[in-house]
Each structure stands twice: as C-alpha cells, then as structure tokens.
Symmetry: C2
Subunit: 325 residues, 2 copies
C-alpha cells in the first residue's frame, strides 16, 4: 500500500486515538513550509493544541507534556539539517508520533522518523510547494480523522487541482516576473508582506529567497501589522512585494496595498485572485491554499530576479562551505 | 477588592471551569508585549489550546469554536487601536471571556472588555514592561488555576523582584547605551536577534523602536533561524543587535554571537545574565522573565540612539497625523 498522509494518520490513530497536540517544527524554509499546516490546525481544530516552533527551540525548550499524545511533524528538504534531525530524534524519545517530510528518501532525518513522506522539488513549479502541500494535507487528515472536518471533500478537490493550477499560472507570469526583476534588481532592501496562511510564505520569500539566496535585506511584515509601525518607512519608491490572498484576510492585504499606492511606493503584487485560486478552491477552504499558489508563482519572480542580478539562487557565502558553526 | 490577574482568572473559573483555549491578540508593540504570556501557555500548559494572533487576523479569520470556553487577552497601550477594539468586541460577541490590558482606564478598549487591567508606562523603565508583565502574570494564573503550575511560587518570587531589578539595571547601562548609539547612529539597517520568550521583544525592538520610531530598516531574526539563511548577510561590520537569554535557549543566542564574532560583524549584545536575572528568577521560571528585563534595558539603548540621531522616539510620518487608512 502506498503511504499517504491519510494512511499515516490512520495508523497513528489506531495506536492512539487520544492525540491532543500537533507540533510543527523545522528550520528556515522547511519550517516556513510547515506554516500552512499549522495555520489550518490552529484555525480548524477544536481540541488539538498546536504550535509551530524553530527546531532548535523545540530541542532546547520543549513544551511540557510532549509525548504519546502528540504528533510532531518535522521537515528538511535535503534531510541533513542537524537541528531538525535532533528534533526528530528528541520527539521520538519523548514518545511522540513523528512524521517527517523530505525530498531525499535515504537522508538521516528520514531514518530517524517513524513515518516519512518523500516529496518532489526539481520537477516543476508545483513541486516547489510539495512539502508545504503535504504539511497542509497532514493537518487536514489530523483534524478530519480525530474530530471531523466539515469541508474535507472540498479540501480534496482543491488538493487535486492545485498542482496543475500552479504550473499553469507559473508559466503565465514570465513577463510580469521579468518586469519585477528589472524594477528591483538594484534594490538593497525589499519589504515583503502577507497575511493569513500566507504569512509563512512571506517570511520564506524575505528570509530565504531574498536574504539567503540574493543577499538583499528583507524584513517580513504581516499585512495587518504594517499599519502599527512599519508603514512609517513607506515613501515614494520604497520597494515592497505584497502577497494578496483570496480569502478571509484579503482585506488586510488590500488595505496595505492602498496605503502603499497613496504614497507612490514601488509595489509588486502577487494576488491569488489574479491566479484563479477560486477555480479549484471553495470559499470554505480557499484560505489555506493561497501560500502554495503564491509560492509557486513567486519562484518565477525569484528566478528572474536572480538572472537580472547575475546572482544564482544557489550562491552561498557560508552554507555548504563552512563545516563548523 | 483590588482587581488582579489572579482575581480575574478566579472569577472566570467560577463562571466556567471548562476553559480550554487562550488567545492573545493585539497590534504592533501591544501584540508583541503579549508574546511572553503566549510563550508561557504554549510551553507549560498540558490542556489549553493557545495562539497569538494579529488582531485584524483574529477579526477576519477567527479560529473555529472561539466561545465560552475561550479566554481572549487583548491589549492596547492608549486603548484606541481600532482593530484591537474590534477584536475585543468580536471575542465578547462570540461568548469568550475577554481581559484587556491598557494604560488608559477611560479608553474605548477598556469599555469593551469584560475585565480590565490598567498598567503604568511613563513612570520608569520597569513600567515600560508593565503590559508584558501583566500578560505573563495572566498566563501563569490561567495555567495554575486551571491545571496547576508546579513553579507558581518561584514565578511569584520573580514577579516580586522584577521591577526593582529592571530599574536597577536600566540605570546602570547608560555608558553602554551611549556606546551603542554612537556606533549605530549612521546605520540604515540593524538586524535584531532573539529566541525563546524573548522572540517577541526582538520583533518589537526591530519593528517599533527601529522601523517605526527611528525609520531604520530592521529585520527580526530568530537566533535559531540565523543559520538557515540570514547569516549569509553577516560580513565585517554588518550591524547586529542580539538579545541573549539566561535560560534554556541561551545556546541558540550564544551560537549566533560566535558566528558574528568570527566574521567581525558590528555586534551589540544585551544579555540577561549580565543583568543578573538569576538573582530574582529560579532555573524553573527564568525563561519567561528574560523579555521584560531585556526590554527595560533596551529602552535606554533606544533613547540614546534617538538622541544621537536627533530623531525623537515620538516622531511619526503617518501615525497620529493621517485619519483614514
């Protein structure tokens, strides 16, 4: 039988029907990829304690009572991130049920976990969001199997249509991505905004695509927080990248956009509505599918920026070079 | 009878002994001030669902099942933040028990809440952390009264000593704060790092003291996340401000410091150990008291920076000036 999110959660439920906590933990982009799963549980569950934690914070300051009633979901793209491997081991030692998401089936993190879901990455733009999609999928299974999720079928419809939509939309945005790259290629700072389930994708874009991979300073700003401080930096030509959700928090994003426009800032918007998210996702579930679509499309923007700046996305000063830190 | 965190939670428990969820919600610095309370519940509670949410995200994308079994804690310094007032009303309409923290007893948010705790601010450095301290105090009462907290007495000892310690330490740091101000006054970007219960204080310092009040670009970086991307920007003289906890996540902060030193970055450290946090807080509770001590001391650094830059902390482009946004 193929192992799926569904079969894994069924198996855990057979062993322990009293699961009452879900912790999502990882490092960097892999932690950010868990955010939509966390956001789903935090919004839809009526009985699960939930948290998303940096893996080393989980290791050094583990919440009390993590144990047999806890599901811990860890992730590492290459499967070799030491803190995430340690978190996987630590969670198992505490008796938790540990599922890991990795691109490499023979990696150390996969060996340490009780359950593994191996995902794609290189194949196409949709696969750039495979880890994120699996994290959400696990979250939906957890809530549905342990307490029931009214919109489970609608969520499955959205999952079924997601990858084709991402690839279709990513292939449409080349001109917009080139325009973005040309406009932002000399910027030393880009502010990245998002809200709702997409807050993790904003963090990931700022911290990893921009800071790690392009060496551009990039604060992440929650769209709702913009008005409570960071908007003081909005001037003519201040460079912003704004993710706009189709779903309940759309107002927060749109309000930030209006303010930026009012002061003639330099603005690029990636809007899930422009990319037809509603064609696959009903109103009841659309919220949670924004980050995958936006991340898939954003990848094209990042590639074009990298080309315009002649700075490969794979270029590092320290990662893969230094051995001890 | 004086209303205290303790009496409020006792009253809620009398009305409903089945509380199973705590949500902390606010905007900007007031949301960040709730973080230590959230962090406490997330780490110490075995049965409470907990979350910290931007107030407008709470308003537009409210978690399912918020109601009579939920305590919602809101905060607004001046008590007039529209989204936080709306969150307070919204939570009450859903039947939740709502406690608000404000500096102004006659403010709109205070009128909307069922329970109010009015706190100081101007008096001294300790009072700059009064809201944060009350949020933690409420969190300790919630966990202790609903499920028991083994180290309750040790936490009370720390609360009792906290304000004197903050004022004592804040009054000692003038020379260090002046040195910081002189060194950083021309920087356009400062990266702010912290971990554990102090992650909210790092966010607050970066987003509000620096971005809002000094118009300096300031990404917040979790000390554990530093190594998974943002450290690629660490070069000679890159400006960092690092909060170092005395407690379980100290290793994360110290590891970031070592890396910055290795590449000769420009580093300022505010270390709770230098400021004698262990003199009031036992190992079992010390974690949660770092953000108050560090925030109190940091205020002196911010004031000195403001003076060196001749940019008052009260100067705004938009807040208090624009009426519609």
């Amino acid at each position: 039988m193929t192992v799926t999110s569904k079969s894994i959660i069924e198996d855990i439920k057979k062993k322990n029907p009293n699961i009452n906590r879900v912790i999502f933990t990882g490092c960097g982009a892999s932690m950010a990829d868990l955010y939509p799963g966390y956001y789903f549980v935090a919004h839809e569950s009526k009985k699960m304690l939930s948290a998303i934690m940096q893996a080393n914070e989980f290791n050094y300051d583990t919440p009390k009572d993590v144990g047999e009633n806890t599901i811990v979901i860890t992730a590492s793209l290459g499967g070799t991130t030491p803190e995430s491997i340690a978190a996987t081991k630590h969670a198992r030692e505490l008796g938790a049920h540990v599922v890991t998401l990795s691109h490499d089936e023979s990696s150390p993190i996969v060996k340490e976990a009780e359950y593994q879901l191996i995902h794609g990455f290189e194949k196409d733009y949709a696969n750039k969001t495979a880890k994120m999609t699996l994290a959400l999928n696990l979250a939906v299974e957890i809530v549905n199997q342990f307490e029931g999720y009214e919109y489970y079928d609608e969520a499955q419809t959205a999952f079924n249509g997601l990858f084709d939509l991402i690839n279709h939309e990513a292939n449409m945005v080349t001109p917009a991505a080139e325009e973005f790259a040309e406009k932002y290629k000399d910027d030393k700072t880009i502010y990245v905004l998002g809200s709702g389930a997409t807050a993790g994708a904003a963090y990931s874009t700022a911290s990893f695509l921009f800071m790690e991979m392009q060496w551009i300073t990039a604060p992440t700003i929650h769209s709702g927080e913009f008005f409570h401080g960071p908007f003081e930096l909005a001037l003519k030509d201040t460079p912003y990248l704004l993710f706009v959700n189709d779903g309940p928090t759309r107002h927060l994003d749109a309000r930030a956009l209006e303010f930026m426009q009012r002061f003639d800032a330099k603005i690029t918007v990636i809007d899930a509505k422009d990319h037809n998210l509603a064609s696959i996702a009903s109103n009841n579930v659309i919220d949670y599918f924004n980050p995958m679509l936006i991340t898939g499309v954003m990848r094209v923007y990042a590639e074009k920026l990298s080309e315009a700046r002649k700075h490969p996305l794979t270029q590092r000063r320290y990662m893969w070079k230094l051995e001890n830190y």
